[in-house]
Symmetry: D2
């Protein structure tokens, strides 16, 4: 297994069958620095316009349509002392008539303490002077090239992954993506220092990271939607609007997973899910929303 | 403050301006036994048809439209050795075409161990033989009479509360409801021994409980949607379809609350919510779905 | 068959099992004057607060749960020289971020020419000086008492009818409603002189009408959602949010109707609907939206 | 102005910045034969896999991002004696629990009488033996390359057009599309002999057509969503899920259009739309649904 230090010189605003920027073997590790969602790098230089410029694509040898690409998010190290967010909360998440009362949208700066691993507003209002957040790094947008020759905007998400903006996609998480083209063509970028559920201001704390991922091809296993594992849970993802449909995709994928890997037919899986399932709202801001269907591993036995 | 032992002899399938079954003073405590969602009591006797027969209404002296009724859920003690659930998961939570593959709906029995405070399927499939759930009691349906002379089915929910089926509405939780009629007219029932997020099989483990609640009128404070407090968090509730709209109601209510009680204007509240908000899906089964907008108290200072 | 001249003295803001204001035989005709959606009568006197005060309920002898109430809308004659609408269009029907740019809500007056049967703004902006609309009267809100002891706000709609705000519910239309309580308990009000699809300003031209309806009990026929017939089409109604769900209810009801009365099984009905169905959006403003599924009678043969 | 007879040899399953297959001047006319949604041509030969293979792209000289491409659909002549549809109606348009009762999906053949311009089922059930439909040709999928380097599946639609499946996109209709890349890169295909509202079986009658379109660049006019004109009406299109969001896009675009071209500010436009707007449901089957906001020209004066 090799480790590649990948320094991109171009970035993409869509995830698709773009020319590979790096070729790796299955199981290799890639270390790369990401620029922020607006295309600004760690030195404050605008390198590409938004939305969400992607490093990549990375061609993983041996990946074929119908395979799964396993993405281990190994580490995420912040590499800039500032981040930014939008405010106020999005018109999408308040009652329609209440939108009239929202203040104008404005970008604000956060200071990131890379020793303490905390973030705070650079110019907080009095009411938030003591508001210091521990960092909880995550990758907002990553995925593999979709089928049918599509190139999908990094503003949105679908079966291939994309701009899911789900806060559990951070270090220690393993994500599984459905390969649709030879080499999988993995892209990543749009890293957040912190983000609440739903990404309801339209951003996490947007900044630059050094990210380490290990990419491995899994043969003989086909999935429809992204899946993930964290220490205690397995997770199936659905991306769509409205939230109801995203939840349907995630739940359907989980039902399939419980049947394939854990020996639970639809009746047994239903008895289990009905009483123990947890749903997370990844984002309720992007063109496609993201819902995660999550089950604790303590309830499951691999079959 | 008095404690009332309330033994209902009639039950309602709607929450509305029905004749009061009990009058209490503000701050009084009520102990009452609930029948299950199908109207069967702790002895197995059918007392009322479904859905979700309500004990009540309880008239709280002094409550007037525009007030808030504070409901402390003090204790919930299971009083029957069995509960039941539906299976498989609802057609609402899988992809529409996948509904064709769902097995037929069927009610199953769970055994409740009232000493160990656990539940398990009475006749589990082999794959769930070791599946033993700790009880996590909650009230599925409760609320106050709505405005405009309405009587709203206990199958659904709205501003007045109702069938929210949110798993955090259990012992230790304090709920705030908007009073719309004199006396508030509080109803409760439909208790669950356990329930996953979303109530995706259409039930929690439906059984009978002895419930103790303390009902207190709060003057000079008006709310639109139910609110709640648990040990670590404050919570605003929205009830509607689709989930997107329920989330809008909950977030709008939270934004108001942060302004009124915690000194955060819309800009400050947005900076906070954007990075720390948590959303729970109460239910995604009833005619109105329920979303909870939740914020940890550690980020807040009462103003 | 008798004709009753019904002069209400009280009005209801919910449709429910209120005490009957009139008893009639099946097949009788009722002539009654309605007040406007805000509760103002033809003389400008406020008679009841809003929303949508209802004349009724009318108890129809012989109607039992499981029957159908046939409502022939015979005539609608405007009885006031003014109507009113809201403006601008609702926050519900523009892009969320565009809500910020909507002007404030304001009620405006229309002059109704009862001889010419036209309406025009009392104080039109220059760009609308020539804007003269032919009247197209319709009943915005009408229905029968719902099941389970419910009383449902006249702001919304459900299986029982209610505030459907569908512009084809005017003279010449026959509507079929599902009876849920003895006597059916028919209510009506909220008449509009004109209304576009969707009721997107939140009102039609709200005014007072003399309405003539003939109410007939149909035994031996059970429906779930309101149905209607106009000269050329049959129509099934769905009421819910989002529009997608309203459309599902309407289409499911139509599928049933085509099977029961027109000899089309699900396969044949699908071949027909797929190529000839028409959908109307009744309203996209009220808490429950309304979608009509419409099929031309020329394609159908009663079986 | 020239006329080009365009005979494609490759087809695309996405609309994007593919290499141009034809270059034309603004104002030129193109005559081309389309293959059906499944990729079968007029001779029954499979030329490309589905979904909805596109002829094109056609590069229109002078078109630049920010311009409008005017597409006049001049003629559509059926060139095959058969078409096909799916049945039964989609799981998307019936109540979720009713999906269980839908028969299996099956493709059926229709005979197209090209002299009489009618279609009928090749093997009709007895109940549809007399069911003969006049042809009403339309283009199901057409559009221009989207922004951000995207290539969007022909199964779906967005600002660029795409698989809108709206039955009024037939001969005599002029469509306006927002140009996002140099040359506009126009694609078309997926023609239907007939289609009901909503495309609720997932197809119109899918067949092959000779289509004549005239493509003209309009400078100095920027639009966000597709617009159209038919003899009596102007139309704005929105593509999204759920229907509510598609309707918001369409209405917002219409509001802009009424302001720019017809001198109606938001207040005046609201008074007009509120009473005269018509909504059509293009499709309620594709990943993005399509809603048309339609206003009769008789109410409008170009300013």
């Amino acid at each position: 297994m090799s480790t590649h230090h990948f320094v991109p010189t171009t970035w993409h605003n869509s995830i698709g069958s773009h020319p590979p920027a790096l070729h790796i073997a299955s199981g290799d590790t890639v270390v790369t620095e990401t620029i922020d969602a607006g295309g600004v790098d760690k030195l404050g230089v605008q390198r590409q316009h938004g939305p969400n410029p992607m490093n990549g694509p990375i061609f993983v040898e041996g990946a074929e349509p119908g395979d799964v690409l396993r993405v281990s998010i190994d580490t995420m190290t912040p590499i800039r002392d500032t981040g930014w967010t939008w405010g106020p909360i999005s018109a999408l998440v308040v009652d329609p008539e209440a939108v009239r009362d929202l203040p104008p949208r404005k970008q604000v700066t956060w200071n990131i303490d890379r020793a303490a691993l905390t973030a705070r507003l650079a110019a907080p209002p009095a009411s938030l002077e003591d508001f210091v957040l521990p960092l909880a790094p995550m990758i907002g947008c990553f995925g593999v090239a979709p089928k049918l020759g599509q190139a999908i905007s990094t503003a949105t998400s679908a079966e291939h992954g994309g701009n899911m903006d789900y806060r559990r996609f951070g270090p220690g998480t393993t994500v599984y993506l459905p390969v649709a083209v030879p080499g999988a063509l993995f892209h990543l970028g749009d890293c957040h220092a912190v983000q609440g559920d739903g990404e309801i201001v339209g951003t996490g704390i947007e900044t630059c990271f050094e990210v380490t991922v290990t990419l491995t091809v899994e043969k003989g296993r086909t999935i429809t939607w992204p899946r993930a594992e964290i220490a205690d849970d397995i997770i199936a993802i659905g991306n769509a609007r409205p939230l109801d449909q995203a939840l349907q995709h995630a739940t359907t994928e989980m039902l399939t997973w419980l049947g394939e890997d854990f020996g639970l037919d639809k009746v047994a899986a239903s008895h289990l899910l009905g009483q123990v399932v947890r749903y997370d709202i990844g984002n309720v801001f992007d063109p496609a929303y993201t819902v995660a269907c999550r089950v604790a591993k303590k309830w499951l036995k691999r079959s």
